[in-house]
Amino acid sequence: MKKVLILGMICLLFLVGCGQESAKTEEKYSFSYNNMDFVLGEIFTREKFGTEVEYSEVASCAFEGLDKTFKYEHYEITTYPDGEDDRIYSIYLLDDTVSTKEGVKITDDVSKMKEVYGSEYTEQGESYLYSKNGTTLQFYTSNGVIIGIEYSIVIDN
């Protein structure tokens, strides 16, 4: 009887196992500016990226940790908390003085975007979303002209 009880309790405790995701090493979208690479998901430090011109914090409704936004002259970096660190969640390009690694910038036509990135995108209203290995590159457009570009990482909830 003792054995049955112990066995039963062990079964109850280990009903479900936790799966582990295998690391993805394939190529992801990334941004580059002034010979510096911005990799989504990497740890953000001011030492590396410099001091921002504007800073804001956004809390979640209930959970601890802050999404932080560091605004620079031509782009804005948003981070998410990961323990003690802040990792890059998104990079939002602010003007046409910066472009994607592949050479597309704000004010370019949608046709140029399609020429460079192809037609495998998801359309959301007037925006186009390209996905690659857990990262996305989104082009916000208006009347066929790009008005915003954003790199983001897909975070599993």
């Binding site: 009887m1 049955v4 009880l5 039963g8 309790m9 109850l12 405790l13 280990f14 009903l15 479900v16 936790c18 504007e54 800073y55 804001s56 914090e57 956004v58 809390a59 979640s60 409704c61 209930a62 959970f63 936004t69 605004k71 804005e76 948003t78 939002y92 602010l94 959301q124 209203g125 007037e126 925006s127 989104q138 916000y140 208006s142 008005i147 915003g148 954003e150 599993d156 909830n157």
Partner: protein, 336 residues
């Protein structure tokens, strides 16, 4: 004899299983208290003429205690973090089993979300709800791809790893609950003013998704069937941005069905909100000072427009509120 022994073993195992389920479930009493709000309603007297439903923009921004003090309004906030519109509908349906308010106030911020946001938020709203048809419907409509229904029925399937992370809170609140809100209002006295906000992204979808309209229709129809006045509001949270395109759609909907819509972002000056002191997180939620101002502004509007009862003249209800108000000011005084 053998059958009796087997039955006893099975009963014992079931008992242990039941106990472990309770033990490993998050208690939401001292940490992540937002998860306790939906169930706190069950312990209160059901005498509310006004019911708020919606996300954090209701439970942080309106104080039923102030509504009562100002105009004698008896109200309850059944809000929860990131409450999605189909969850608001389920909560409204469930509430109507207990009481029939005169006015239901729905915060329209949830119209922007057409898919479940995260399991963590689902859990805060659903975990502690009493079992009902509404809860089951809510689970199925809210689950993310990684979730499964049975983990809501048997929390150990989801929280088994907590067995190694149990804290004092898990034992203290194993079989008891404590009050964390005042009629659904979660007091926060911290001050963190607005300094700057993230850059506003262009809207990718200007029209709210069909599913959100579907549930807004359901909420409206449920209110109509029960002769309840549905009022739409947008709380004065500065972020996430409430786009003009969003506002126009709610205006249009309200006008089509003859509903009142109050976008408090348009009344910031009249309310007297000062975002350097009236918010605890840089503009997402109002703190106690901001919620008090907003509630003082809204109370006379509610009272007059919807001919609400002044419960200060009702001995029984007044006794309840006086007791709550005493605790309310005690908690405020203690700086919690």
């Amino acid at each position: 004899m053998k059958a009796v022994r087997i039955s006893l073993i099975v009963l014992l195992l079931l008992g242990v299983f039941w106990f472990l389920n309770i033990l490993v479930s998050p208690k939401y009493m001292e940490s992540l208290v937002e998860g306790s709000m939906i169930s706190e309603y069950y312990d209160t007297p059901k005498n509310h003429e006004v019911l708020f439903i919606g996300d954090c923009e209701v439970y942080a921004n309106f104080s039923p205690m102030v509504l009562y003090e100002e105009e004698g309004i008896s109200s309850y906030i059944r809000g929860s973090s990131q409450q999605l519109i189909w969850q608001s509908y389920g909560i409204l349906k469930e509430t109507l089993k207990y009481e029939k308010p005169k006015v239901v106030i729905f915060n329209v911020n949830a119209m922007r979300y057409s898919t479940p946001v995260s399991e963590a938020y689902n859990r805060l709203t659903i975990d502690k709800m009493k079992w009902s048809k509404e809860k089951i419907e809510m689970i199925f409509s809210s689950m993310t791809e990684e979730e499964n229904f049975w983990s809501y029925v048997f929390p150990i399937l989801r929280y088994h790893s907590r067995i190694f992370e149990l804290t004092e809170e898990d034992f203290t609140y194993l079989f008891q609950r404590r009050q964390n809100t005042f009629n659904g209002f979660l007091i926060n006295q911290n001050v963190k003013g607005v300094e700057s906000l993230p850059t506003k992204r262009p809207l990718t979808e200007t029209r709210f998704a069909d599913i959100t309209y579907e549930y807004l229709d359901k909420i409206r129809e449920l209110c109509e069937e029960n002769n309840i006045e549905l009022v739409l509001i947008k709380a004065p949270s500065l972020y996430p941005y409430w786009y003009t395109e969003y506002d126009e759609q709610i205006e249009e909907y309200a006008s089509k069905y003859g509903l009142d819509y109050y976008n408090f972002l348009e009344n910031i000056l009249e309310i007297g909100l000062d975002y350097s002191v009236d918010t605890y997180d840089g503009g997402l939620h109002l703190n106690l000072s901001g919620a008090t101002k907003l509630s003082k502004y809204f109370a006379p509007i509610l009272k007059e427009k919807y001919s609400l009862t002044d419960y200060r003249d009702n001995e029984e209800v007044n006794a309840y509120y006086q007791k709550e108000l005493e605790k309310y000011y005690e908690e405020i005084g203690s700086g919690m």
